[in-house]
Symmetry: C2
């Protein structure tokens, strides 16, 4: 499930049967993206198609491994785009690709902006200047992960002091965590930074983003995902998100725990499908476990909107999931807890 | 300019020549929205088309005033949808329409969520209970503006105390303002609240949102808009946004000042068009004045990314705009200030 749908099929991405992609439909969204970029005279972004049957040798030479995938060639890097097949999402991603991999923080307001970013994995380094060889190593590491992981640096002692950073030191920030971890062994070469990131790139809590949705969905643990639906712009959803952050901060050392937060506002075309598949009502927050193979799921009992679980209750529930006491596909649990809401709706 | 484009024309919305809408293209996005909603068995949302030539009488009877517009019939209200003609944006708006017009805040985390909402006009009332006749008047007022203006209420004395709200009192929050204004003359009837909102519904600083972009764009002052492009998720953009908020908070009493903040991340398909039309580089923040008729514009000089204007400098610049010293279309100013950046790009 959650296989790559083309734009015009996006309302049925979970469908079990293999999608037959029509070439015409498939590339409508790429055509739109290319047309839009055509207005940018000064940017050199080209679009190409490789026929997986006729041009196998070309694909191999270019390093294209997966059929029906989009690869971005930027400088010396090949970036696989593993996001929603929609022109707006792809373009936003491309705009990020063409930005510098390391962003420099030079004053307090920018520092506030840096702290404001909490949904992405981010790193912050303190270096003498852009000419420092240690900065070059950092910049090279950034290119490996750009634009999915955000790299920042400062050359200002005053800013470094506020961040508790020593010269040539880099801090690693997991999403939604207040405190960073300093990468050990400074000064680093590129590989030190790359290895550290690769070991820590599955956060305890992460947000499903349109530009990387397939990558995240495919990164399951034992074929399961703990999923939380919560609308950040809604006070109920915000409440659940705060509880999730608390639980994630307490369990950040647990390598087997990874919760995916989905803001339904980011996926309007998916909402009806999710509601039907999981038997839930997404007008209020939901927390559950989903089997990524057959879309079986169990959802936490939440009495009503006024009565969200506490961090402790959620913690206990998550422990039960991880120890296997609660699991998707159990006949007695499945699609059962949330029927109260449905009954109310039918009265209307 | 900024006339309603259909989805497949969205990359040329500013075009001067009148768009000829092809019926087939026009309703592709409506069809997609309808298909998606088809999965929602329990929601009664139907889609209809009225032919503006053949069914003039029907249109009149339904109260449909504008051709090429989308009207939503919800309970007793007719809501004009004045947003991007894209299925995802329309659906997100529809999900908001079917929610309750007043959201109840009952604990501290929800209150934090309420404070977290800063981009919308929002109101908060304190009432004895949902059965209070004063709450009913508030709820009726909410229906008039729902879902574009957000209405909240609390029945908890503890929460009301934190908000400094007296019984049956309603506070009005302008976007990006820390302090609300209490609506005078409590307890209110519906009309008191409606009139107050109608008098205060053009904020000093407002965000261009896809679901209401045409409505906001058409609400110009003397055929001009002060426009700020700033990416919230980027520290440079965040810095400019903080400065804008400061300026807006200082000038909130000025009825002639209304700044539109555009986050380019929300409009990826528009970025190349804006860059070309306004002669600016949207990879860094930009502040300017735009003539809504001919798209002439003047942009504030910003030396480089490290050197954003201070709140005072921005304030002076805005005063010059409002007194007419700076205006779009001036040969010596127009499309001239920002050439430094362009020159740099050409070196690459």
């Amino acid at each position: 499930m959650f296989r790559k749908p083309w734009r015009l099929n996006v309302y049925r991405p979970y469908t079990q049967k293999k999608l037959t992609y029509s070439t015409i439909n498939s590339f409508l969204f790429l055509q739109l993206a290319a047309q839009v970029l055509d207005d940018l005279d000064d940017e050199d972004i080209g679009f190409g198609l490789v026929d997986s049957k006729k041009e196998r040798a070309v694909a191999k030479k270019l390093g294209l491994l997966e059929v029906d995938s989009i690869y971005i060639f930027a400088d010396d890097e090949i970036i696989e785009y593993d996001g929603e097949l929609a022109a707006d999402t792809l373009l936003e991603f491309l705009y990020d690709v063409i930005e510098e991999p390391v962003e420099i923080i030079s004053n307090d307001r920018e520092l506030k902006g840096f702290h404001h970013i909490e949904e992405d994995i981010k790193l912050m380094g303190y270096f003498k200047s852009a000419k420092s060889s240690h900065f070059t190593e950092y910049d090279d590491a950034a290119e490996e992960f750009h634009p999915l992981i955000k790299f920042f640096a400062t050359f200002e002692p005053r800013i470094a002091k506020k961040l508790n950073l020593k010269m040539n030191e880099v801090d690693f920030y997991e999403p939604f965590m207040n405190k960073p971890v300093s990468i050990p062994g400074k000064p680093y070469i590129e590989d030190d930074i790359v290895s550290f990131i690769e070991e820590h790139d599955r956060p305890t809590l992460r947000k499903l983003e349109p530009h990387s949705m397939y990558e995240i969905w495919e990164d399951d643990i034992n074929e399961q995902h703990i999923v939380a639906f919560a609308e950040e712009s809604d006070p109920d959803g915000y409440e659940v998100l705060e509880i999730l952050k608390e639980v994630a901060q307490e369990n950040t050392e647990n390598p087997d725990l990874s919760i995916i937060w989905i803001d339904p506002d980011d996926f309007p075309l998916m909402v009806p499908y999710w509601e039907k598949t999981f038997g839930i009502d997404l007008s209020s927050p939901q927390i559950g476990v989903v089997d990524v193979e057959d879309a079986d799921s169990v959802w936490m009992e939440m009495d009503d909107e006024e009565n969200m679980p506490t961090a402790d209750e959620l913690d206990t529930w998550i422990e039960d999931v991880m120890s296997g006491i609660i699991y998707p596909g159990d006949e007695t649990d499945y699609n059962h807890d949330n029927n109260d809401d449905d009954d109310d709706d039918e009265d209307e």
